[in-house]
């Protein structure tokens, strides 16, 4: 009897954590992708009774850190994995990070609705965010100082703009950092001389800037981002420790299916397929 109880306890101890995990896929990371991830999870769970997908945000860095710590199955990231991060993953799990582009997004620059400036070149944006251009009149606007808004450095969008607009240089010190794209949108909507940036999915109630390239002014529209014509577009990724299998694979397959990609469009991003 005693041995029976002991073995029962042992079996339970081994089985319980597994049972708790089976069927639950955890997804964590980029704040830009949280809404998208949640919408996918809802639809996926509706179609597959019993499956459980848990989506939380926190920022791309947070998601990738959780992937390293083993606390999430999928890390959502709006930027490429850094070398330091993939090195850590390799050291801990002896696997290369699996990278799956699941959607496309354009980084959009916003100004206040009352601002007469409609388009800026990437060079002008760089000048503004490096602090070389400090007055709107230098880029064809009114004679007023530019109030620069940025994101916290835990944000994937922060890194994207730093790499693709600033060529890796540092933001001007006076750039105000706000938590979340929604906060930036809200701030620019209230600040007449403000400029900010974020994912296009959030851009409502303010003016989106077109990007000048040569003589052309390219708007951050679906077609321009999908075709890659808009210069400031990016991939949104899922990162995994290993090749997807089981529930995780089913969820990713769903996200990449025509149905899943239709959700991408509905949320305001752009499909990869």
């Amino acid at each position: 009897m005693k041995t029976f109880l002991k073995s029962l306890v042992a079996v339970l101890l081994v089985a319980l954590p597994v049972a708790a995990q089976a069927g639950t896929v955890t997804v964590k990371g980029s704040d830009t992708m949280v809404i998208l991830g949640q919408r996918w999870a809802e639809e996926f769970m509706k179609k597959n009774a019993g499956a459980k997908v848990q989506v939380t945000g926190g920022g791309s860095g947070t998601g990738l850190a959780a992937l390293q710590n083993g606390t999430t199955d999928i890390a959502m990231s709006s930027r490429d994995i850094k070398k330091a991060e993939s090195d850590k993953l390799r050291a801990k799990y002896n696997t290369a990070a699996e990278e799956i582009p699941v959607a496309k997004d354009g980084v959009t620059f916003y100004v206040n609705e009352g601002n007469p400036v409609n388009a800026l070149s990437v060079e002008q944006l760089r000048g503004i965010y490096l602090g070389d251009i400090t007055n709107w009149k230098e880029v064809g606007g009114p004679d007023a100082p530019i109030v620069v808004y940025s994101r916290e450095n835990s944000s994937g969008t922060y890194v994207f703009v730093k790499d693709n607009v600033l060529n890796g240089e540092d933001y001007v010190a006076s750039a105000q950092t706000l938590p979340g794209t929604a906060a930036v949108v809200n701030a620019v909507a209230k600040e007449k001389h403000g400029i900010g940036y974020g994912g296009s999915a959030y851009a409502k109630g303010i003016k989106e800037l077109k990007v000048k390239q040569g003589n052309e002014e390219i708007a951050p529209t679906a077609d321009n981002i999908k075709s890659g014509k808009y210069p400031l577009s990016r991939n949104l990724y899922f990162y995994l420790r290993n090749k997807p299998a089981g529930e995780v694979k089913a969820f990713i397959d769903y996200a990449l299916s025509p149905e899943g990609q239709a959700v991408v469009t509905k949320v305001g991003y752009f499909p990869v397929k």
Partner: protein
């Protein structure tokens, strides 16, 4: 009768054993148990404090022991101006996420200093004079209304105060003063003042009401007006308590995070202008800790900031208690 029995008898006679009733014995036992329990509680608090300090310091220590971290964030890089862009004069820059991380603490110190200064400039007069009014001049019924209402302000979560500062105060102040940036040290400092006024008010009011009635009566009997009595007699007599109130408020202002994170704009700028956006030490920890890779230099730096905040409040409390002792000595010394 053998000797042993005699001795026992003698002992019993010379040292009468107190006869405890079972009831008294139980009470004694209960007394001991309670004393043991509260001692344990007291030491749990101390143990928690020590453990927190050890943990935070341990995480920060990597900054001084690991070669890579020492190179990336040496003391000179943290506290002296550095050349960050070719052809520009050296400057203090906080850009920890970068190809070449810049980790100057100076802009963060300035940020904390500015918001704390603004909040103290507003909260000390409001809190102390409010307390003086409540203790000395307010009719009883008004006072009974005033105290709980101000104390209720202390119960408002700081995230709500921060939201209020961000959405309402920022706009009002910008429209009123034509400030260049909407979110700045003044907005954050005023939001912070809302949080520390109740702290200062409550402690100051308690110390003012604790001043003996005889002081007031003597002063009034000598022909002083109520204001002269309040200002020249009651307030100085309550000075140690008022000082303690200010120190408590100051400690809260240095450590408060949410209000500043929401309302200051979080730009690490080195300037003396209160209309500029600021980034404080505590808000930096809150904003960056979520993303940071555990064990990296950036991670250690954030813990190092935590150690500094701890040291600030510790030193401040020491100074304040030393000063309070001096004030008490002077007051009582001159009286005798």
């Amino acid at each position: 009768m053998d000797r042993q029995a005699v001795m026992q008898q003698g002992l019993a006679e010379t040292i009468p054993v107190p006869r405890l009733s079972p009831e008294a014995r139980r009470r004694q036992l209960r007394e001991k148990a309670i004393a043991g329990f509260i001692t344990l509680m007291a030491f749990t608090g101390i143990a928690a404090l020590v453990l927190i300090l050890v943990f935070v310091a341990k995480e920060a220590l990597a900054l001084f022991t690991e070669a890579e971290a020492r190179h990336e964030a040496s003391l000179s890089k943290m506290f002296l101006p550095q050349v960050v862009r070719q052809g520009r004069p050296p400057a203090f820059v906080w850009q920890p996420v970068s190809n070449v991380p810049k980790v100057s603490m100076i802009p963060l110190f300035i940020g904390t200093l500015k918001t704390t200064a603004v909040s103290m400039l507003v909260a000390v007069p409001v809190g102390v004079f409010g307390a003086l009014y409540a203790a000395e001049f307010a009719p009883r019924r008004l006072r009974e209304l005033l105290k709980p209402v101000i104390e209720l302000l202390a119960g408002i979560p700081s995230v709500v105060l921060g939201f209020f500062a961000l959405m309402v105060m920022a706009t009002v102040l910008q429209d009123a003063f034509g400030l260049h940036t909407r979110l700045n040290a003044v907005v954050a400092g005023l939001g912070l003042a809302l949080a520390i006024v109740p702290v200062i008010f409550t402690v100051a009011e308690d110390s003012l009401t604790a001043v003996p009635r005889s002081y007031r009566e003597a002063s009034l009997a000598l022909g002083a007006t109520p204001w002269e009595t309040a200002w020249k007699v009651v307030l100085p007599a309550a000075a140690p308590g008022i000082l303690a109130a200010c120190v408590l408020g100051f400690g809260r202002a240095i450590g408060e995070t949410m209000i500043i994170l929401m309302a200051s704009g979080n730009a690490a700028i080195v300037s003396a202008n209160l209309g500029d956006s600021v980034r404080s030490l505590s808000a930096t920890i809150a904003a960056e800790m979520g993303e940071v890779v555990v064990g990296s230099t950036h991670y250690s730096i954030l813990f190092f900031i935590g150690v500094q905040l701890f040291l600030f409040t510790f030193v401040l409390n020491m100074l304040a208690s030393a000063w309070t002792k001096r004030v008490i000595k002077r007051l009582t010394g001159s009286a005798s």
